[in-house]
Subunit: 338 residues, 2 copies
DNA sequence: TCCTGGCACTCACACGGGCAGAGTGCCAGG
DNA sequence: CCTGGCACTCTGCCCGTGTGAGTGCCAGGA
């Protein structure tokens, strides 16, 4: 186990490196922090930390920089979550309060998060499967063409067009609409499949085909949209990445455009509490030099979706975590109110 | 007026520079093109072209590169639109045919365009004001809470929640729904305001308030959504920009995130035919070193929205224009079919 | 009048040596 | 176990030089 002071040295290295973006040496450390020992002692500690794999030198006779493992230790043991200042909190609230609908909430959130953290922000739309049904609507656009509209308690709306083989009477439609609603309103989307599976049986022979079609579209929607939507913002912040641009930034931009990858990334994050994935902990190749800070948010106790930021492994973890957590809380509040 | 050969020289310079990304000199020109004259002659022509402002030298004794004005002349007079190869056409069709709904069409289009041109693609959702109404639906979520759903002929769907002061009876609702539809179905969204303005008068005193509220939300939606949605893709292609990265790429990324800016840009493009804005012709500061190629697309003869690409002024204009035009056509077809 | 070859000139850029500074590892002494 | 000292190793920077691409200009020729 590492001594208390060595941990302190690691913390100092991480802080300085995050601030200056330059390898930090033993002398600079003693000058900028009250460690109470001489540079030579620090050098020994650094050598030990390097043996353990927490820090590394880019080349001989340069200072040290933290490794992914070093950041991991820092995040787990050495750093807290830095609460936002109260002006910041007020700014968040003011900014989010102006939102008029779900799209607006999500859009504002992503901009806010990007600005606050000066990194790339990612916000997932509230998941269908975890939301509850507020209303199901079925309407006839034409005799054999229906439209299905799903409305969630989080304000999300999904619609699908349905082409039926046979015309579907107005009364049957009203009937189906009523029965659907009575069964699923207030229930979670995840439970919908069981709740409706026996529905066709209660209809007349002629209508069963259409009812089945409608239900299959409904279930399909649930499945498809589990492949969720998300919004990204602040990609311009990537330009603050480092000096060795094109190589670093390109794979990240590519990864960000593949929403599937990001969704998987967010999906891997814990539902509650904050998840930080550092560098190579991210499975995706383009993101091995970035860290992802993600957290779930929701209108109630449970998370309905996640949001987070993607930034260089060399990021201000306490600050970023603080911002992410705070934003998630406020978004949750906004959703609960609407 | 410039002689035939000088125009030819300008064309050669543009082509070479686009290909190599390096200033092109007189000797290289005679070697790579059959101009039939010696380098010395070319030098004279180049000096003339420089005097006219079509080309410039980055520094004394380097080759020449085209200026914005040079590209302008090239695009207007010297370059055609390069048609795509038939495998490319097939690929486009196959790729777009798989789309299941409007979101999917737009998403696929943006990816396709980005891949085809190796630049940043921008696709605007079909505009509401230029589309026609397929259906208007009103449904009661609660006694005093309604939902308004607008469906366009291009498959776009918009919805809004409406809180009414007073409960609104089921019969009144059905009445309003029927009247709304009979008035506006098949008409252009732009005409909707006049078509519905006298509607409240035909309702009973008690309901007029609610009817007015519904209508005002309807009109609001039309206005709000004129501030259209758009989708961007291929930002990773920005990394191919140049060597002097951070400075070039940052303002572009920032501009791309401001959808308002992009919409204005697209809005300035002509409705029919293709619009090419080169370098400083773009009002926005961040885009002065980029060119925008935009074109309208639509299900019929008229454009319902625009799409295009953003790339370095040093781009392959004929190829890019060909790709943009072809994609727009296919998207139009797809929309017309659905 | 226009094209051509020749010539002198100008830069950007790449190469290489030398120098300074930061940082390290190790060791002997407190 | 900490400390100061010392020798060593790099990287980065500056600078001078040389090379090569490219130019402008001019005088001669079709």
């Amino acid at each position: 186990m590492l001594s208390e002071r060595r941990l302190e040295v690691l913390r100092a290295i991480v802080q300085d490196y995050v601030g200056t973006e330059e390898p930090v040496g033993s002398k600079a450390l003693t000058e900028r922090h009250q460690l109470g020992v001489s540079p030579a002692t620090i050098r020994n500690d650094m050598a030990a930390l390097e043996d353990e794999g927490f820090i590394a030198q880019p080349h001989t006779s340069a200072g040290r920089i933290p490794t992914d493992k070093g950041y991991r230790l820092f995040v787990d043991k050495l750093a807290g979550v830095k609460p936002l200042s109260s002006p910041e909190r007020r700014a968040i609230q003011n900014f989010l309060d102006g939102a008029v609908d779900l799209d607006d909430v999500v859009g504002r959130t992503v901009r806010l998060l990007a600005q606050l953290t000066r990194q790339v922000a990612v916000v997932q739309y509230p998941s269908l499967t975890r939301s509850t049904v507020r209303h199901v609507e079925l309407l006839a656009l034409a005799p054999a063409r229906l439209m299905l509209v799903l409305i969630t308690d989080t304000g999300r709306v999904e619609q699908r067009l349905i082409d039926c083989q046979a015309p579907f009477g107005e009364t049957s439609l009203a009937d189906l609409r009523a029965r659907l609603n009575s069964r699923v309103v207030g229930r979670r989307f995840a439970d919908v499949p069981q709740l409706v599976q026996d529905l066709p049986e209660s209809f007349e022979q002629d209508d069963r085909g259409t009812v089945s079609t409608v239900l299959s579209v409904l279930l399909e929607t649930l499945v498809e949209e589990t492949e969720e939507r998300l919004v990204i913002g602040g990609t311009a912040n990537l330009t603050r990445f480092g000096h060795d641009f094109p190589l670093t930034i390109r794979p990240v931009l590519e990864a960000l455009e593949e929403h599937v990858v990001l969704l998987k990334l967010l999906g891997e994050a814990k539902d509650s509490g904050m998840t930080v994935r550092i560098g190579h902990e991210n499975a995706h190749e383009g993101l091995t030099s970035t860290s992802v800070v993600a957290v779930g948010y929701g209108s109630g106790d449970e998370a309905v979706a996640k949001l987070g930021v993607v930034g260089p492994t060399r990021m201000d973890y306490p600050g970023t975590m603080g911002a992410v957590r705070a934003v998630a809380r406020y978004v949750g509040q906004i959703l609960a109110e609407s």
